[in-house]
Symmetry: C2
Subunit: 413 residues, 2 copies
């Protein structure tokens, strides 16, 4: 039987329209891997009475209760005190924690403020969790039937502490079967078509559970399996996963979490090809995505952001007459951009993108969302015409997805 | 006295590491504007017993309880039934809803599946809320002391329904004073320095409440005021806001929500200046940010992504010898990039960025995070040296922030 956990994020700023709790996504992934299910996620402000009531409810319904945030040095940071109060345990100063905080301040050349001393207070009987990246230690409290874990709010501190201090402890108490996940990323098929192809396969399985999501123009097929041990869960993932991969064929570009640009970069390095880009409507987004990858200088020569016609002509060699006759957004201009940037940057492959991202600039003949993408290599040049729905951001994103997919297919074959 | 609301997002997919509840951000903003405070946000899976227990707790502590999601046609969609069960009210089919759903399917050329008939069920005494953009109607139920609102999960449907059906109803029941917000965006000062300058000002006010956040290298000062009416709340925002703006001076680039690139674009258009960019380590991110703005073609000529040294030389005219002698990451190369791209693209202003984004490529002398940014205009060229902490993504983002800020200052003066 898997253990139940819940996550309580504490902080009034998380109840504004401006901030999201993202720590819970990281924690969920780690808890699931240990065979622990997350049943509730709650956000509450810096309010003692509300947090105390919520904590009592949580201790009645969940075996593991994780509180994030609220461990800082200020008056607003109430988690330590509320937990001590709800459990009826006095707070005691731990000299070792105080010493560490003082040393940390000394290393930074500052002296500890009185407020920081509050961070050395620990409820009776609690273990404290070292914070390598900040001053606030975490806390681990066992009660009759529950584990309460207090973690700092900053993601870097929380993640480092959870990994080193909590995962080993949880592995000891968890009696659950491990949960493993796998994500197949699919491009070039609409969500409905993906579902139609694979529904007969995944409906035959209660375990793994399959979910289909559309994320930034990529369709993701999520499998989630539990088994007696990790190997059994993995075997279940592979059994269904292999069938899904066969049904979706070449549209699957990743099953290990890689992004489309990472897969493209990998193929380019593998085949020892280089790439150059000439982008109009995407304004550098394709170059930006390619250079997110560390080491991209080994395959990416560079690009021209040809936002004006003069730059298309002067930097990429697109004849001014061609632009005038066909329009900047046209198949021949996409071809000339791809071929021109390939030749001038001495790359194996050249990409040219020209289109109308909107919201203005569309006409009846050339509407917003019309995009031409050219790909030139030593053999030939291919131009594809797309009509992307949606707003400016979406048209630009989908254009770069389509360009990356064209490169992937060309290089893979 | 302001009313208390809480938001419950229902859906097992929201308890995975892959999905966030974003509807609550929209709802919080709208509720606050009506003088309603959000006290709790909870996420729970598609589980009848857990949702029922949570709903009972919520009805005990909040005057307005909003449930999102769980109104679809499938077995997983439990909100309608759980609410009816908790309130002890039978579900009755509403012929008008059924007719609307059938008409919607007919318009799409499909026939209604049996499952969709469930969407016409309404708990006794509840009002239903028309859904212009989907099949699932919302529900509004008054109980002794609470309002329960059920909304569909898809953001487009939820937002349209909330705006047209809920805002007018809530305005009638809310006895609270309106809450207004303002955000000052600050660049070029660390968070601690911002706080030091403005703490004496905002600490004199209980209303507005001030919060300082660091978001992607920009410091945001959030003010939140409530008043008898919107004008009074606005006046309070202006009173404190003007003092804060004076204390932070030229570091404030926005008080109306604009992004840094929008402000820069606005100045460039206003002063009739054009811009060209030569980016090495940022790989097109600066161009991408500038061209997010619709209409950017009026000031942005284009750019070169000079990821290889040959491209720096051939496309921007940086002497190969200079690169060899000084290194590609150096002040003279940043200067040559800025001046070269300005001249070759016939722009008023040229920007050159060269640096080491990491994680590899750093040396003792030129560590990861070292970035030179050059700005050339008709008067002179300025080069600034930066050492940004953090990972590749952060170094690239902060580099483009710094470049945009250099442009803002140059063009504004």
């Amino acid at each position: 039987m898997n253990m139940d956990a819940e996550i309580i994020a504490v902080g009034s700023e998380l109840l504004t329209p401006f901030r999201q709790d993202t720590n819970s996504l990281y924690l969920t992934e780690k808890l699931n891997a240990l065979g622990i299910e997350v049943r509730f996620k709650t956000i509450v402000g810096d309010d003692r009475a509300r947090l105390a009531a919520l904590l009592r409810t949580a201790l009645n319904r969940s075996q593991i209760v994780i509180l994030t945030g609220g461990l800082g040095p200020t008056e607003d940071d109430i988690n330590r005190e509320v937990v001590a109060e709800v459990l009826g345990r006095p707070l005691r100063e731990v000299p070792e924690i105080r010493k560490r905080i003082e040393e940390r301040f000394a290393r930074l050349g500052r002296s500890m403020s009185g407020n920081n001393a509050r961070q050395a207070l620990v409820p009776e009987g609690a273990a404290w969790l070292a914070n390598r990246l900040g001053t606030a230690p975490g806390l681990w409290i066992e009660t009759d039937g529950s584990q309460i874990i207090l973690l700092p709010g900053p993601p870097r501190e929380l993640e480092a502490m959870f990994e080193s201090e909590c995962v080993p402890r949880l592995a000891r108490v968890s009696r659950g079967s491990p949960i493993k996940r796998r994500v197949y990323k699919v491009i070039g098929l609409p969500e409905s078509e993906v579902d139609q192809r694979i529904a007969p396969l995944y409906k035959a399985y209660q375990n793994p559970v399959t979910t289909i999501l559309a994320v930034s123009g990529v369709i993701e097929v999520h499998l989630r399996a539990h088994g007696e041990n990790e190997a059994e869960a993995e075997a279940l993932l592979s059994e269904l996963g292999d069938k899904i991969e066969t049904a979706l064929g070449e549209h699957v570009f990743s099953s290990r979490g890689e992004s489309l640009e990472q897969v493209v970069g990998m193929y380019l390095v593998l085949k020892q090809k280089t790439l150059a880009t000439a982008e109009s409507c995407t304004g550098g987004l394709l170059g930006e995505r390619l250079t997110r990858i560390s080491g991209s200088s080994s395959f990416y020569r560079g690009g021209v952001i040809c936002y004006s016609n003069e730059v298309k002509t002067k930097f990429v060699g697109v004849p001014a007459q061609l632009i005038e006759e066909m329009g900047a957004v046209s198949s021949p201009v996409a071809q000339a951009l791809a071929e021109g940037v390939r030749a001038r940057m001495s790359a194996s492959i050249g990409i040219g993108i020209t289109g109308i991202a909107g919201p203005t600039g569309g006409t009846a003949e050339k509407p917003v969302g019309l995009v031409f993408i050219g790909l030139a290599d030593e053999r030939s040049t291919q131009v594809r015409e797309f009509r992307f729905p949606g707003d400016r951001e979406r048209v630009r994103l989908w254009s770069t997805n389509a360009a990356l997919e064209m490169i992937r297919r060309r290089v893979r074959d």
